[in-house]
Symmetry: T
């Protein structure tokens, strides 16, 4: 058995009308449809667009790390 693993990071932007945490979970839920072994995330940018003078959507950029199968 190998004594090391390799991980890949992908960069996603999740959005939400309600909160930063919800935007993160929305991105994770989307990735969870196709990625296995998601392990950690890192927020790299928090922004959003504005509608009628208030937050329309929070847009959170995050890197998601997952283990390569059989690595």
């Amino acid at each position: 058995m190998s004594n090391h693993h390799t991980y890949k990071k992908v960069e996603m932007v999740g959005s939400s009308t309600t909160s930063i945490e919800d935007a993160i979970n929305n991105a994770l839920a989307e990735c969870n449809k196709t990625l296995k072994n998601m392990d950690w995330f890192e927020v790299t940018e928090t922004r959003g667009h504005i509608v009628d003078g208030a937050v329309g959507h929070f847009q959170v950029t995050l890197k998601i790390g997952f283990k390569i199968e059989n690595s």
Copy 2:
């Protein structure tokens, strides 16, 4: 009609006793009194002061982009 627009960014600090999202919306609400056409925001700093060993206020610095009228 012009095929391009010009935007300006201003840098604001919103605060809130309850959440980061609320601090962002407080800054937007304040700017909405005088700025038209607010389009997007970018969070550049998240900090706060501490009262009795807990968060007193969240202080969120954000840049707000808005379209210049008639640009």
Copy 3:
């Protein structure tokens, strides 16, 4: 009486299963057991680990500034 003060910053990582704000307050609560005069905090990193395709814990790195006693 001195006309200036000296502060120290320590770097902590708080975690929470529910929110970024809660992770910050958890770190402050832990530090409050041993540090006096905590004055402000600065968020330097937001990340987390993923469990079953969703956020397991938010992990928020923050610097906490406090006044040195009698400085």
Copy 4:
């Protein structure tokens, strides 16, 4: 006469369908309607949106420095 001057920087986003240089000049032309004494610019971000698989608009963020009148 004073032996020093004070400058202000404002942050603008110019856009153009054709080039980065044109986006910069579009932002300057817009500011020139209201600002006097524009002296220098610094590009801080270059991005754009994509239409039909090609650049739709270049969007260039720049800081513009100008001298405060009578400073």
Copy 5:
């Protein structure tokens, strides 16, 4: 219908013998063969190699954001 979307960013390096803008469009054209819904790009690095004391190729690194289908 969902009230939010998820985007992915990929990092590409386009090159051109003539201009920075052309290098960007070359990268977009290449991605357009396999990616749908390309929405925006962000330039993160501009460099090139030198041939006979002049620019041989401009090499522009850019992140390209595109909407995840059905997200």
Copy 6:
């Protein structure tokens, strides 16, 4: 009465033939003519031009934060 405030930051460049501290105070003095409630500053760049092989002017870029009236 509101339990939160909103601040704006403006970016200025002060100059001085004698010192960095003096360049900061020159920028503050100039802003003080038109801004109320200036609260803090952050130095973001220190540079200068050179005359006859010595410092001609120190040029200090600083962000100045001030409270929005009635926020």
Copy 7:
């Protein structure tokens, strides 16, 4: 024949119990199973976890650039 090429960068994390160089080569070996034309790498982060007060694994984040086939 085209006079330019397009490259893609992917971000990987390699690990090793013995050295930083070995962690880099482990990540490359894993990618080599599925990627052709790997051309260069850039180290963006070096970290690791600690076991019994010593390095357990070095974890090296790197971006790997490879040429797009037929670009």
Copy 8:
């Protein structure tokens, strides 16, 4: 005798009503009460608060490196 040493860095904020240099020395003097073997410092931030339109205090953040005893 060991052929290597280990150092620790602590992050302090010194303040002064008069100068940046004085703020640095005030932080060093405070640390000198409890730290031995202070060896070097690195300025990481220069800011201050404003009183009556002028600098009230310079606040300088610095990292101080000192050798661990017997390392």
Copy 9:
């Protein structure tokens, strides 16, 4: 039992005449005398001094994260 933990990061500089990895392990060994629960490290700077035109010591700055007891 709490469902979250708090960590502290300290910043150390390890040195070695032979390798970067050795400098990291030297810093960890030194901290291991007084810190429990060391969990991870992050390299933030790699430098060294030069003796007779070759590396005298590698000096590696790293942040070490450890769990606060009973947090």
Copy 10:
């Protein structure tokens, strides 16, 4: 024959009244008078001064890498 080479980087600022690309080539042409083996460049800053409300000169800072002779 050595199996490795050593390169040096120098930092130049090229200028042009017409374009960013031209400013880069102007800097390269100037360096080409005295440097051999110029291999690659990296743009680190793009700015310019403003004349009559439009770009006077583009000023592009670039690092130029060249192989040391016989290294």
Copy 11:
């Protein structure tokens, strides 16, 4: 006559027992022995070593820009 100029930047570290400004001027004075046409400087790092618990020398890293002769 050419309508553009080329500049070179060199990176120096000046030191002084008394002030940051003096360290800058010391570096300029040293360069002035061999460089013509020094035009501007940019401070990139401020640090120093500590003697007996106080600043021994301020060490200021600066980039100095000068015009290439006949460029």
Copy 12:
């Protein structure tokens, strides 16, 4: 005798087929042919090119500081 010194930093890229440490020493050995008084180095970038799916050369960018003679 002067109570201060001036240093210059040059930026080099060393390479090696075997290790990061070796790439650093190769750059120092090359500079040692022409530079006196080399004092310290700072690693600013670690990268390499890939041959047959493995590291071909490590390429390490470093700044080398050396004292100006008689400064």
